[in-house]
């Protein structure tokens, strides 16, 4: 029998077969895989870009993806459509702390509303008369919580003015206006922190330091690569006993062209050195760069989560994880004692990362629903879909 043909075919098969390794072993990842549970209380294709909570202890969650707002009691499963100020379209939702209890804020039709119970909403006019645009939590140095919100607005000076929203009994109209100055770009603030001494804001490729009334642009030094200096996305300041590692500021950038986003660190705001640049992921189409977005600190293993997105809504790559003590970054979270890597979450664009005050982590996606991880119960608890 002539074996030349089958042997040639076999050799060709071996040569053509390419071995593509991810960041987990195949059998090991199967060993960790758990069946994804969907509670069915929310549309599994919902987009969630904002999340907040109400109550001390927390008794209600709120979410929105820029259209309808939904809420549910912590003890319930089903999410109910929740209008604010009589309108069903809610662009953003956020929470402020402080006694007594806390207050949930929502933007609907360009108007800011607040509520102490999630049902009765009070219109909150702005002293400058601008239209409310977005609500951004001002993260504290634990990397998780916020007492205040930064309200971005849009008016005749575009996104020049913002407001600090920081009490449950604010003045009417709200007067805590922050002026980014006439030189501010036409881009809204995307991230805000309070390091205990100043507020720090970013919009476009500009870092701002603010005293709560005015803001000054701060020169930023990078790694000298101009391709990395396009579009700051996230900013966080980590400090204190709960944070193990170098205290300081972390900055994330979005992709630019075919260049992936980056992660930078500085002990002082503005002097950044690269931690990870030109991020790519096998979960995206060839040549599609990863865009870094917002931060959330996970104090269970001292890791910093960085949400990601892609230029297309149908693709994404979940969140990356920086182990703060070792300064090591991976797009596959090392906290993979649960089903994160075997779920589809690593292929989703992330709309928001949120940790409720009861310790449950939430991950809102673009067009793939809301997921949660009850890490407070066990680090091996699986991610489940709401």
């Amino acid at each position: 029998m002539n074996l030349r043909i089958p042997l040639t075919g076999l050799a060709t098969l071996i040569l053509l077969a390419s071995c593509t390794a991810g960041t987990e072993g195949i059998f090991a990842s199967l060993e960790r895989e758990q069946k994804i549970v969907s509670l069915g209380g929310l549309n599994k294709y919902a987009t969630v870009t904002h999340m907040s909570e109400l109550g001390a202890p927390v008794n209600k969650y709120f979410i929105t993806g820029g259209q309808a707002m939904f809420s549910r009691a912590v003890s319930a499963v089903t999410w109910d459509k929740t209008p604010a100020g009589g309108r069903s379209d809610v662009a953003a939702v956020g929470t402020t702390g402080g006694a007594p209890g806390n207050t949930v804020w929502a933007i609907s039709g360009g108007t800011l509303y607040r509520s102490a119970d999630g049902s009765n909403w009070i219109s909150q006019p702005l002293s400058g008369g601008e239209a409310a645009y977005d609500l951004i939590p001002i993260r504290k140095s634990d990397g998780v919580s916020n007492d205040e919100l930064f309200l971005t607005t849009v008016g005749s000076d575009l996104y020049r003015y913002g407001y600090l929203v920081k009490s449950s009994s604010p003045s009417t109209p709200l007067t805590t206006r922050v002026d980014l100055g006439s030189a501010s770009s036409g881009l809204a603030v995307t991230s805000a922190i309070n390091d205990g001494a100043s507020y720090w804001l970013i919009n476009g490729a500009t870092l701002w330091q603010s005293n709560g009334a005015t803001a000054a642009e701060v020169a930023v030094t990078f790694d000298g690569n101009a391709a990395h200096e396009h579009g700051y996305q996230g900013l966080i300041y980590l400090s204190g006993a709960s944070v193990h590692g170098a205290n300081g500021y972390y900055l994330s950038t979005q992709s630019h062209g075919s260049t992936g986003g980056g992660l930078y660190f500085g002990t002082t705001a503005g002097n950044f050195t690269p931690v990870k640049t030109d991020v790519s992921s096998s979960n995206l189409s060839a040549g599609e760069p990863v865009s870094f977005q917002q931060f959330l600190y996970n104090d269970h293993n001292q890791s910093l989560w960085i949400s990601t997105g892609a230029s297309t809504l149908t693709e994404g790559t979940g969140y990356g994880e920086l182990m703060v003590p070792s300064n090591s970054f991976t797009m596959t979270p090392v906290t993979n004692t649960n089903n994160y890597n075997s779920s589809a979450i690593p292929t989703y664009s992330v709309g928001t990362l949120f940790r409720a005050s009861n310790g449950i982590y939430f991950l809102g996606t673009v067009a793939h629903g809301l997921w949660y991880w009850d890490i407070a119960t066990s680090t091996s608890s699986p991610w489940k879909q709401q």
């Binding site: 077969a17 072993g25 090991a28």
Partner: protein, 201 residues
């Protein structure tokens, strides 16, 4: 003497001589002899049972895989009556808890001994080679060992039908310096029971 004695003896002799050729034929079929150069083509089809994953340090864990199926073909060459060498190509699919499919395509070389009790034969063999292992976006190329036993009925000199049972032992080591941590190295165990048809030519 009974008058029927001679006719009865004559009948017995007559029948006896008539049956002798049949007896000679039966003797010839009692042993289905193979010679060097004979070939056999085997087709397997049957279920695969995922057993366990083992770390290289020895601890075991569940595979989380459900029952799967395998289809395969072997081509063997007899070196003598009871020993053959050959190669096999298999395909196997098993399913994860979220219905993702683990594909494995082992390509092996095998040695098989046959214990023969006509009309049955009991092949015992071992195969070694490599498996293309694919799961979602990952593919690896893993060493594999496959000991097997079988039981076949030789329906004719050309066709045999029976069952095989194989143990798959798949080694998936990862080395330092790669993108996968060495702690993710595993040995996977699967078992299959397949219906087999062998064509001798």
């Amino acid at each position: 003497m009974n008058k029927l004695f001679y006719p009865t003896v004559a009948l017995v002799l007559f029948l006896g001589t008539g049956v002798l050729p049949l007896g000679a034929q039966a003797t010839e079929l009692k042993y289905d002899h193979r010679v060097a150069g004979d070939r056999s083509l085997t087709i397997h089809l049957g279920p695969v049972f995922p057993e366990t994953f083992q770390t290289f340090s020895g601890s075991f864990a569940a595979t989380n895989l459900s029952l799967g199926a395998t289809l395969g073909i072997d081509l063997d060459f007899y070196l003598n009556d009871v020993f053959r060498l050959g190669g096999g190509l298999r395909g196997k699919a098993t399913f994860s808890p979220n219905n993702f499919t683990l594909f494995m395509v082992p390509i092996t070389f095998r040695a098989t001994w046959e214990l023969k009790y006509y009309p049955f034969s009991f092949p015992v063999g071992v195969a070694g080679g490599f498996s293309f292992t694919n799961y979602r976006s990952q593919t690896s190329f893993d060493p594999i060992l496959m000991p097997m036993v079988g039981a076949y009925w030789n329906m004719s000199s050309s066709w045999s039908f029976g069952l095989d049972a194989s143990q798959w032992i798949v080694f998936q080591p990862y080395y330092s310096g790669g993108s996968v941590p060495t702690s993710d190295s595993r040995i996977a165990y699967f078992a299959d029971i397949t219906l087999g048809a062998i064509y001798h030519f």
